[in-house]
């Protein structure tokens, strides 16, 4: 029974983190049809920005938890939105209309460049900013413990998920975006400024990636190569859930999270395969992912 509880708690905590990482990816793909490999770099940028800002804050004698969260949010949003803007305006804009796969490779090149840019700015020494994680303590449930910070990540993830859903389904901009998702050419003909919408979408997606990194920074050591490690996991989650669907990303994250927690608690040997096994199994039975749209064949 203890193990079951542990699996549920750990599964949902991990799922909430996965969803944070994957949300930006799926928003960008849904609207722009770009599978953004550089998403991992944005995650890393957010993590570095938050870790160094927190380090500076705590070195200056600060110890307010609230301030720490303000710093994480501010630094991640700044670096994410700015980098997103630069990538979209400076590069992707030149390439719209090209093949989906070519766009994937373009973002792969961006990933390579950003990896070294990060290294040039922050060097290779690991950054750590454990203070907020340590300050939030833990909750004891029998021998199990849950870190307060992890619960906070879960809450943030829920807020972002609901926020995104509300934005896409209940606001005017969201309606415009859905019209672009549905049919780009018709919405352009109806007077939608698709290019501007693309810029907004990419900046939001990029910011979501940076926020995921920023919020993870206090948990981990921020090291070079961080971005490359998360990108495949994020891909697997959104493909499992169905590309471009927020609900899909959430459900995909929960499935992967629970499957992984089950494996770690019962058969730790299988952990390495589990995410790919889940993805392959889902794709075999649902070729477009759980919530993916079936694309009409061209004739």
């Amino acid at each position: 029974m203890l193990t079951v509880w542990a699996i549920l708690i750990d599964g949902f905590i991990y799922a909430s983190w996965l969803f944070l990482v994957a949300a930006g990816l799926t928003v960008i793909y849904g609207v722009m049809r770009i599978l953004n490999m550089a998403h991992g770099s944005l995650y890393a940028l957010g993590a570095y920005a938050a870790a160094s800002a927190l380090g500076w804050y705590y070195a200056g004698g600060g110890d307010q938890l609230i301030m720490a969260f303000v710093i994480i949010a501010a630094s991640a949003i700044m670096v994410g939105a700015l980098t997103g803007l630069v990538i979209e305006r400076g590069l992707l804009r030149l390439m719209y209309g090209r093949d989906e796969v070519l766009m994937l490779i373009v973002t792969f090149a961006v990933l390579l460049i950003l990896e070294d840019v990060i290294k040039l700015i922050w060097g290779t020494t690991p950054y750590s900013a454990y203070q907020p994680y340590a300050a939030m303590g833990r909750i004891n449930i029998d021998v199990l413990t849950v870190s307060g910070y992890d619960l906070m990540v879960l809450a943030v993830s829920l807020v972002i998920g609901v926020g995104l859903w509300f934005w896409l389904e209940r606001t005017k901009v969201g309606k415009i975006l859905r019209s672009i998702i549905h049919d780009r050419e018709v919405s352009e003909a109806m007077g939608v400024n698709v290019r501007r919408m693309f810029t907004i979408t990419f900046m939001i997606g990029a910011t979501l990636g940076a926020i995921a990194g920023g919020i993870t920074a206090p948990i981990i050591s921020v090291v070079p190569g961080l971005g490359v490690e998360v990108i495949v996991m994020a891909f697997a989650v959104v493909v499992t859930g169905g590309l471009g669907s927020i609900t899909g990303a959430a459900v995909g994250a929960v499935i992967v999270g629970l499957a992984r927690a089950t494996s770690i608690h019962t058969m730790p040997e299988l952990e390495l395969f589990i995410i790919y096994a889940v993805m392959a199994t889902v794709l075999i039975f649902r070729p477009n992912g759980l919530f993916g749209q079936v694309i009409a064949r061209k004739i």
């Binding site: 708690i9 750990d10 981990i220 050591s221 921020v222 090291v223 961080l226 490690e229 730790p268």
Partner: protein
């Protein structure tokens, strides 16, 4: 069709220029490579400059090597290395990134030897790279020192090595040492768990550790072993899984950022107040934990390196020089890199020749030798004189008033933790350490 033919003039010009620049630079570089100066000794230094191993290992190692190389060329090292240069020659280094896997490293190694005309190669943190480079070094007859990689298979795979050397210990010594330290300091521990990164290093370490525990603490029970992925960062689920097993001791061979993250998370989650962690590479976090590891956490440094360096002229000089340059004491990868460079200087100075010594002369001088280093006297006593035999040290982390230090340090002589020649390391442990000498 017209569209693709007609490119704007500026694009054509740009392309043309780029192509000719590329051609020209390849030509120039070819020339530069052939015109290597006679009076210098060129060493290739291969270490991680990108990826997750660069921060904790690769870059500190490059920095440690750099400090020693500079001092060698100035002649400012303490005795017995107070002569200028190596065998009177200026020591030049070419640094190469170790990222990209063994196949690429074999290619870069050949480039170092044949295109850059280096006289010796020092490097390799990853065991996979070491295993791939060993046979190539022998084939190309190039004097090569592995400074950090820990696989015990390195000299099992090379029959009768001639050119390949390793100036550090293998991972067997780490884990036999860990088991001995536990047997002496925590004899009552019963429930033993582990957490290792899911790759060869973690698997080998856990295998050697559990084998040694069967011999040294037969009462103890292995209750769980977690294998998170390399560079995973967050260990929330693994920590829960360990907690449900209620261990007394948690053994981990995780290194670098992973090790630091795990320690900090396990500390906050309370795992480390239930169990004591023994971290075989924990020394690299000694000056980085800042109290994030509980006092009493057992740290190893892969030998007498970093905070475990004995007090001698060389280690004092090295620690001071490293602090002066980088503001923090050297961690074990930096000391290990320094040791490999000192071994090279020792070999060159004792090659008994004028000018640039050949690989054969260098190998002859280092084989079976004893040389002074930042870690005390190093005996090249294993693998036919190609593998260093050194003590293994463990100690407890203590953090007070902003200062970290190692307490209750115990050191085990080389013969106590390393298998003698002719034994497969795992066989040696299983047979109860034949020929062991712990005094």
């Amino acid at each position: 069709m017209k569209k693709s033919n007609q490119r704007p003039i500026w694009q054509k010009t740009l392309l043309g220029t780029a192509t000719s620049v590329a051609m020209a630079s390849v030509g120039v570089m070819g020339m530069a490579a052939t015109a290597s100066a006679e009076e210098s000794f060129k060493v290739g230094f291969v270490t991680f400059l990108s990826g997750g191993a660069s921060g904790p290992f690769g870059v500190p190692a490059a920095q440690g090597a750099d400090i020693v190389i500079k001092a060698i060329n100035e002649g400012s090292l303490p005795a017995p290395y107070n002569t200028k240069g190596v065998n009177g020659l200026t020591l030049e280094s070419v640094v190469v990134d170790e990222a990209g896997g063994p196949t690429k490293q074999v290619e870069e190694y050949r480039n170092l030897v044949q295109r850059q005309d280096v006289n010796a190669v020092i490097g390799y943190i990853s065991s996979g790279d070491c295993l791939a480079i060993g046979p190539v070094a022998e084939e190309m007859k190039m004097f090569t020192i592995a400074f950090d990689c820990g696989t015990s298979r390195l000299f099992q795979e090379i029959e009768d090595p001639q050119y390949m050397f390793r100036t550090g210990l293998d991972a067997v010594a780490d884990n036999v040492g860990a088991a001995r330290y536990l047997a002496e300091t925590r004899p009552d521990a019963v429930r033993i768990a582990g957490i290792q990164q899911n790759y060869a290093w973690g698997q080998d370490s856990w295998q050697d550790f559990t084998l040694a525990m069967e011999q040294l603490m037969p009462e103890a029970e292995i209750v769980n072993n977690q294998t998170p992925q390399l560079f995973q960062g967050s260990y929330s689920t693994e920590i829960s899984a360990l907690q449900t097993q209620r261990p007394d001791i948690v053994h981990s061979s995780m290194w670098g950022g992973d090790m630091e993250s795990f320690t900090a998370q396990a500390n906050v989650r309370g795992l480390l107040s239930q169990a004591t962690a023994i971290l075989t590479t924990g020394e690299s976090g000694l000056h980085r934990f800042d109290g994030q590891a509980p006092n009493g956490t057992i740290l190893g440094g892969r030998g007498p390196f970093g905070g475990f360096m004995p007090e001698n002229d060389l280690s004092e000089w090295f620690t001071e020089a490293y602090i002066a340059e980088h503001g923090t004491p050297p961690s074990y990868p930096a000391s290990k890199a320094a040791q490999a460079v000192l071994a090279l200087k020792f070999a060159a100075d004792n090659s008994g020749t004028d000018g640039v010594p050949s690989s054969e002369q260098l190998a002859e001088a280092l084989k079976g030798a004893e040389f002074e280093s930042v870690s005390g006297t190093v005996r090249m006593a294993l693998a036919g004189g190609h593998q260093a035999l050194q003590p293994m040290s463990y100690g407890e982390y203590h953090f007070e008033d902003g200062e970290a230090e190692l307490r209750n340090v115990r050191s085990y002589p080389g013969e106590c933790v390393s298998a003698p020649d002719g034994y497969n390391a795992q066989q040696w442990i299983k047979e109860g350490f034949p020929g062991v000498d712990c005094n």
